[in-house]
């Protein structure tokens, strides 16, 4: 591990008294894509949502252990600040239906009550849409609502909305599972481009997606971190028997 940006130590998540994430230690490397894979119900989404403190809204969820972002304890930080530094893209594309494409991209600033000059806004919108490879397709319809866009375009709009806040990390919660294969491929290529400037943490139940685009992979099973390491190594010579069983389709 050369340059970790996010470190989890003895990390647990409980729903009421049920522990769904067991004592995990993991370091996420800067400017890399780390995949978290595992069968449904293994705690991968729960783990991801603990990182940007989304569990604050679930009254019966409880988090134990340390998360350090650039060596600063996340649980001591203001949750609002955490979420500005750590963006999130969801499973189903969820652009705001009451806003135009332009307003969607800039929505993070509007929601936070940050006032920007028109020129600054224009620049952020163009930059973010260019980075999410959507600019060419929507530059003439910026002030229309985003609801006529295809699923893949909507998801890229959501990525642009997240990028606009200039986050250090983006959490991706199965971002392509609601999309067709062509849109999926497009978005995977986009992630490979984006890792130059932002760290990506990708939850996926699709192990070939993890194999295609991630640098590191964590395999979670029933809340335990079974194995964590370089993706290439893990997919060719898994150390743990359960990882191997998952990769060849015996469990999962």
């Amino acid at each position: 591990m050369e340059n970790p940006i996010l470190k989890l130590k003895n990390f647990n998540v409980y729903y009421d008294d049920v522990r769904v994430v067991n004592n995990i230690d993991i370091n996420f490397e800067k400017n890399k894509i780390t995949a978290i894979m595992g069968p449904s119900g293994c705690g991968k989404t729960t783990l991801l949502r603990a990182i940007n403190r989304m569990h604050d809204f679930t009254p019966n969820a409880r988090v134990e252990g340390e998360i350090l972002l650039d060596n600063e304890d996340l649980n001591q930080m203001d949750a609002i600040n955490v979420r500005r530094k750590i963006g999130m893209v969801f499973q189903r594309p969820n652009p705001f239906p009451t806003m135009s494409i332009y307003d969607n991209v800039i929505s993070g600033y509007k929601l936070n009550g940050i006032k920007l000059k028109k020129a600054e806004q224009d620049e952020i919108v163009e930059n973010s849409l260019t980075k999410s490879a959507l600019w060419k397709e929507v530059k003439d319809t910026l002030h229309k609502r985003g609801s006529f866009l295809s699923g893949g375009q909507q998801q890229r709009l959501c990525i642009a909305r997240t990028l606009a806040m200039k986050p250090e990390i983006i959490l991706l919660d199965e971002p392509t599972s609601a999309l067709d294969p062509i849109a999926t491929q497009f978005i995977e290529e986009l992630f490979l481009d984006l890792k130059k400037e932002v760290t990506l943490i990708l939850v996926t139940h699709n192990m070939s997606q993890a194999a295609r685009i991630s640098n590191d992979t964590a395999f979670l099973y029933l809340g335990d971190l079974v194995e964590f390491g370089k993706t290439k190594r893990m997919f060719t010579t898994p150390e743990n028997k359960r990882t191997e069983e998952y990769l060849i389709g015996k469990i999962g």
Binding site: G87, S107, N112
Partner: protein
Amino acid sequence: MNKDRFYKFILSSSVVVLIALVAVILVLLVENSLMSIKEFSYTMFTKNEWDPVQKSFLLISMPFALFLALFLGEYNTSGYIHNFVKSCVELLAGIPSLIYGFWGLFIFVPMIRDAQMYFGVIPYGVGLLTATLILAIMITPYSASLAQEVIRLVPRDLKEASYALGATRLETIRRIIIPYALSGLFAGVLLSLGRALGETMAVTMVIGNSNFIPKDLFSPANTMSSIIANEFTEATDPLHLSALIEIALILFVTTSVINLLGKYIIKKMVIK
């Protein structure tokens, strides 16, 4: 098969009865008000006494109902407090309007009378303002539960997206939830208005029953329904009776239109 047909017959006949009921009411109202319509044409409402001014209650009731709805639909979506507040709302909605009328007569009327003395106007106590306050209180539980349903329809996805961008709860409510629910909330206001227009008993008890267009909020006045309730038993003159029925007809049409409009907007929103 035969049994199936029998059930179908029973079900459809109750539908027919229902539709017939609406039609019969409409026909009766139109038929009996013809005399008055011929006599006064349509000037009755604008020219003289009976003016259905009764909308200011919305101003009082709606913010309160919206806060209640946000509390129930967004902040406390389950648990003891939610259930307790919700039962209170339902309880308030279920109280017969007569009781609200009594309550208004004993609590509000003296209060308003004091206020009127203070402002130096004739202290009737009863009047438009008192009726407005009572209506506001009566209609709040109804609009709160409507608004709460609408707010619950806002997809979780959108709220989470907003939180994930670093928005606070208040910012999310203001910029995501309310804009998304706006048409539904508006429809809720319309439905509440429809309900309040037809509200009779409590209003009749505290409005003062004066058939003049009120000069100000303190004046005694009359609503369409309170006129009917007050004068129906004394209406021996056929023309008087017919005029009352014409009011009923107009009340019927207004509330129906408002209700249909409100339901149409809510339906459109759900499909989206």
